[in-house]
Symmetry: none
Subunit: 407 residues, 2 copies
Amino acid sequence: MEVVDRVVQAGRSKILLVVLDGIGGLPVKDGRTELELAKTPNLDRLARVSATGLHIPVDYGITPGSGPGHLALFGYDPLDHQIGRGVLEALGLGLEVRDTDVAVRGNYATVDYRNGKPIVVDRRAGRIPTEENRRLTKKIGDEIKSIDGVEVMVAPGMEHRIAVLFRFPEPLPEGSDRVTDTDPQAVGREPLDPSGLTPQAERVARVAKEFVNRVAKILREEERANFLLLRGFSQKPKLKTMYERFGIRSCCIAVYPMYRGLASLVGMEVIDFEGSSIEDQIRVLKKVWEDYDFFFLHIKKTDSYGEDGNWEAKVRVIEEFDRLLPEILELKPDVLAITGDHSTPSLLKGHSWHPVPLLIYSNYVLGGTSSRFTERECLKGEIGIIPAKKIMNLLLANALRLKKFGA
Amino acid sequence: MEVVDRVVQAGRSKILLVVLDGIGGLPVKDGRTELELAKTPNLDRLARVSATGLHIPVDYGITPGSGPGHLALFGYDPLDHQIGRGVLEALGLGLEVRDTDVAVRGNYATVDYRNGKPIVVDRRAGRIPTEENRRLTKKIGDEIKSIDGVEVMVAPGMEHRIAVLFRFPEPLPEGSDRVTDTDPQAVGREPLDPSGLTPQAERVARVAKEFVNRVAKILREEERANFLLLRGFSQKPKLKTMYERFGIRSCCIAVYPMYRGLASLVGMEVIDFEGSSIEDQIRVLKKVWEDYDFFFLHIKKTDSYGEDGNWEAKVRVIEEFDRLLPEILELKPDVLAITGDHSTPSLLKGHSWHPVPLLIYSNYVLGGTSSRFTERECLKGEIGIIPAKKIMNLLLANALRLKKFGA
């Protein structure tokens, strides 16, 4: 148990964590980063009176995926609590994952039948169009509802990817996901049978094997996507909820399923709402403001444009957020944190290991150290460069929700 | 064992650690902290040629009590070595705690006798005046000198609080303090009997039970404080001395019993002296300067005024210390560190989690980074923001008392 868990006390203060996904960047024009290029008068003003710094999501030099990036922001050690591939894929495609479930990623693949045996000739079925994926996945979903009393759910991803979820009638013991992949990882080979590495996983393997066989029959007449390979069997990680750890009622306002799913793993209430713009999200925030202590507001587009290498668009999203910031401030959160789950420099067109700018505003900060919310200005701040998993300590402290340690 | 313990070497250099208790602050006037408001020409001059930084006593966001705050400054991990409530109370009230002892906190309480059984009606005896506490505690101390060969000591605290110490004839095995509280934690209930949770604690529980019974008889005729409730049985933590770890002969120059007691836990020699002003303390420092390698000078009032929310008075204490600093410098310590055990912002009227300014002066620092000894100026320094428990490494290094690690 972390020391923070031992000093939690009740409170009525409200904490708002705004995650600008992938916000950190690198110089893209005139030696300036996306945050430096953006015109952000409101963020600048806030930065001047806030505690600033940067955080390291997992470790120096380590580029985090969205899973570890967010778990760390929520106060969970991302190395102690790893989220399996299957679970992350399922969450990302909008499937709810429970402690009765084993989730796995699937690839549509092309096989040739030789002497009645399938031999993989394309592990990705020529990257079939997402449209075709949807059609096939619907067909599978319609035809396979359950296997031996185990509920089966499928959700189409992009191109050849799909998520499969096996829901058992009762919570599964740990180790039930120790099932081997069926993807032989090379063409010219026969798909492997799923096999359980622990007694409790054998039952899951049997269901998975039956599922693969039934799918093969359903897809038999397809030209390209006539088989399904499975990998990354995984269970929902056992995490205490944020309420159990910190005594806070927390909610998630996010558009994309993956982040909604990640929030649900730590027990946040995931708010359903209409629309997908930042404005829509702020409208929802206002609506539920009285109902929770902790609000996770996830803004996706900074990351998306970073991944595309489109720095101009990333700058525009930052400026859009800046314009809406006064509306957020009107709510008068006791503690407001603005940061990202990792950096996504447009220069790298992907997640990166770079420390992520962090701003914490409350009545109990020094402030006066940084003139803007940028990578370089945050380096001057009172927070320093800290592990992301410690941010929650600071948020709870600034919310006066931690009592003294020792006498 | 920490790496520092493995590279200690002998030396003749002298280290002076000045703890301005609760020194760190937050803006209280014109956006400036107590340290920023204080006129400190001598500290400013020193800061300009010193290594500066800030330290985190226990962990990010964690507000430390005086116990963990000081243990960390002395180079001990405050999470590995926790000091029990009873021991801390006893130390704070001037009782020496040895490895033969179990200490416990007591509350004077009011009970009603119903069918001969005591029922708690006020767990704090209406917070009796400290005067009355002193009278009663003296009476108990005079009438109960020992129980079954176990020496008994009592010391009055504020209002209803007292410290009780049971001194056994020989050192006690670990776990002897695993005795349950007698405080039922609610009115309308009978006080609980102390009970040993380990075989070695049973003996302590028997003595404590007999003590409570005898006290009840002594207090029988009192109107309000007619019973004593006990909680927080604890033994002195097993700590190597600073001499054992670092090869330094250390002493403590502190006015308040708690800090003298904390110093004694790590084997410091506690100097007795007349007077209680900073000037008195510096006089003593000069007197014993030839006799030790390490000097812990504890200045209390910065914390006291911070706790009162009296920032003007805190500023004055800082200025008083600044005026006396040249006298300290005349001693030419090889290493001089000035810091606090935690922050006590007047704004918060209590200890806080904020990093604590730290200054280390020696012949082997860069310097030239900070123009003053303030929270914001120390952010610019060469030490950065470090865990408090690592400060001793730096002090020993600057004193050239650590040899090379590895070849």
